[in-house]
Symmetry: C2
Subunit: 386 residues, 2 copies
């Protein structure tokens, strides 16, 4: 992959970004955000630190969103461990008070640390989580949080034995303001009983910015396991399904023959005990879009529907940001969500302290990933040449 690495360096130079930023999906379009990202993190909300946490593995930029969310919710970021000097360099700037330690065990053996966060390479996330839980700590991991059904079985076993929290950061729900707002409004009955969710999650490839594990499903688990797991989470959440099955699923590599172990397209139909769902994910965000992906979620209810335009409103003055549209028996509404608060971090900190499940049920967390893993495993490979 020499040429790829060379392209990646070129891209980073052009974008004026350090490599950690390169893992952010929106890196090429959010240079000003990158600047902000490397300034020391400042608490937005005054929740006094009440829980010491650490980080092990920072291989995807989502770790920034995760750490920020826990800090906002009352976490005190104490220590981190990672292997990659370039990633550490940028991370250290953002969290100057957290201490870089020399081994994973320094964190696992520190009894004052109650929660460990990770965005290590996907295939390593479950084994790490098992070590974290066995050390008596709770765990929040980037998605995909588990990359095979075998890993899932072992994680579930250890979680049951240790009674620790194994939380996966389904950030397209937890860290998206319009999705949070939709959760609140669906709960009021504004669109009646939810019948179906329809979610699309297009992502930008940004090939030069990607590490080699990105192109081999052996490491990231496949497109449905990876970016599809977000969508399955939302399907279960909005239909209030506690059981579910995969009706059909497909994956494809339509456009990247140079990466034979990569998948650029996946879709699936789901049926739950609370409603049904369809999910499409892909790596076809075109360069003309003003963000990393025009993710949408349409929630169909008996008395109306909501459409979440998660990251932008194409060719509309609303522009980038998180937008919610609602139509019900009474009216059509646009709801600007920029001031919506995201409670996930605070709820998870509460859960660690109180041994509750307010941020996300453990069964829900596992079921979302299980359905994604089943859909991935049984997916028909579309082999049509285009």
């Amino acid at each position: 992959m020499k040429s790829n690495n060379s392209n990646r360096r070129k891209f980073l130079q052009e974008a004026g970004l350090f490599s950690a930023a390169a893992f952010m999906p929106s890196a090429s379009h959010k240079i000003q955000d990158a600047t902000e990202r490397f300034a020391p993190f400042v608490q937005e909300k005054s929740i006094a630190p009440r829980l010491r946490f650490g980080v092990i593995g920072i291989n995807h930029g989502h770790i920034y969103t995760m750490a920020n969310s826990i800090i906002r919710g009352g976490g005190e970021f104490v220590a981190y461990y990672a292997k990659e000097p370039d990633l550490i360099k940028d991370f250290a700037k953002r969290y100057p008070t957290a201490k870089l330690v020399s081994s994973e065990d320094s964190i696992l053996n520190d009894p004052s640390i109650k929660l460990v966060l990770s965005s290590i390479t996907p295939v390593e996330r479950a084994p790490l989580g098992i070590r974290v839980m066995k050390s008596g700590k709770d765990y929040m991991v980037d998605k995909p949080g588990i990359t095979s059904l075998e890993q899932l079985a072992e994680v579930k076993k250890v979680q049951k034995e240790t009674k620790r929290i194994y939380s996966i950061s389904y950030s397209e729900r937890f860290e998206n303001k319009a999705t949070e707002k939709a959760s609140q409004l669906v709960e009021t009955g504004m669109i009646g009983k939810v019948i179906q969710t329809l979610g699309t999650g297009p992502h930008r490839m940004s090939i030069p910015s990607r590490p080699s594990w990105f192109f081999d499903k052996k490491y990231y688990g496949g497109i449905i396991t990876d970016i599809g797991s977000h969508q399955v989470d939302q399907f279960l959440h909005f239909t209030k399904s506690t059981k579910g099955e995969v009706v059909a699923s497909q994956v494809a590599n339509h456009n990247y023959p140079q990466y034979p172990n990569f998948e650029d397209f996946g879709d699936l139909m789901l049926r739950g005990n609370g409603g049904s769902g369809y999910v499409r994910v892909d790596w076809f965000t075109p360069d003309g879009l003003n963000t990393w992906g025009d993710g949408r979620l349409t929630i169909l209810g008996t008395e109306g529907y909501m459409e979440i335009r998660k990251n932008t409103d194409v060719a509309n003055p609303h522009g980038p940001g998180s937008h919610l549209y609602v139509v019900n028996q009474k009216e059509m509404l646009y709801i600007d969500c920029k001031n919506v608060e995201l409670p996930h971090g605070e709820l998870l900190v509460n859960d660690v302290i109180n041994r509750t499940e307010t941020a996300m049920g453990q069964e829900h967390c596992f079921l979302a990933t299980e359905l994604a893993l089943i859909a991935q495993k049984n997916a028909t490979k579309i082999t049509r040449t285009i």
Copy 2:
């Protein structure tokens, strides 16, 4: 169905509409359009009449769109036959120069009439079409154009023997300006090679306006056969698929237990030799929407995507109408489609005269319906109580 008929009358009185208008999906929200509808039809474009056509059966208001399209394209509306006095009354006002005849045979036996249009009750459409083709005439029928696989087999056989045109009016493509515009732009390569289509077709129930056959799938064929056939047409068209299969399909009656033979929800996954597709159709358009249904079609390509907002742009100053959004490697665009011309009627008139297939290929027409019928027949019935 006494109470339904009584409700229907009440609705019609309230809306100030005659009953033919009641069959239009948007009746309750387009009173001014209804006024226009009953004014004599005026030719917008000056194509001299060059083809005499007739109408047999006007049980769905789509017949107005169909007749207008053929007149615009150079058709001369000569004669019509229908059984329902209230429907005839309104129809006559719109087409004062066409002659009401006393039997179907008056039209079938008139050698000067080359094309017959129909929106007779769905289950009667194929048998009528067979009689039309056997009389040596071409046929354009409202969708669903064929309501069972047995009917399809017979229609295909007779079509092959007679070499007549059996055209189904997939109006969500042919009579929708943004969809026509999208067809033109996809053809230019503006979004690269099409990979997938994702279509949703929500419709408003307007229960009081519906005739009794609307509520029994024995007469209309089921929700996928009916409103899903539009969507399958668009999937085949935009992916340029000439072969296809149904990956999975579902139907449900989520919210209308009082109509046990009605379906209010259906969805399906499709795979073709040119791309894949997903379709969702339902009868859940809420009263707050400013048109009969917020139909969308997203066309995903290797170099960009298009989103057609077919009938309205929710909570946006664009309002009702047909809107096209395009994002590709270069830019994000909104395209106002109100001045786009719809060529379908003219092309079909050409085809009747020239024995060509420029409006729609006969194989394509049958394949779209065949896939919808297969999806309907094999659909899993979602029985979850909500």
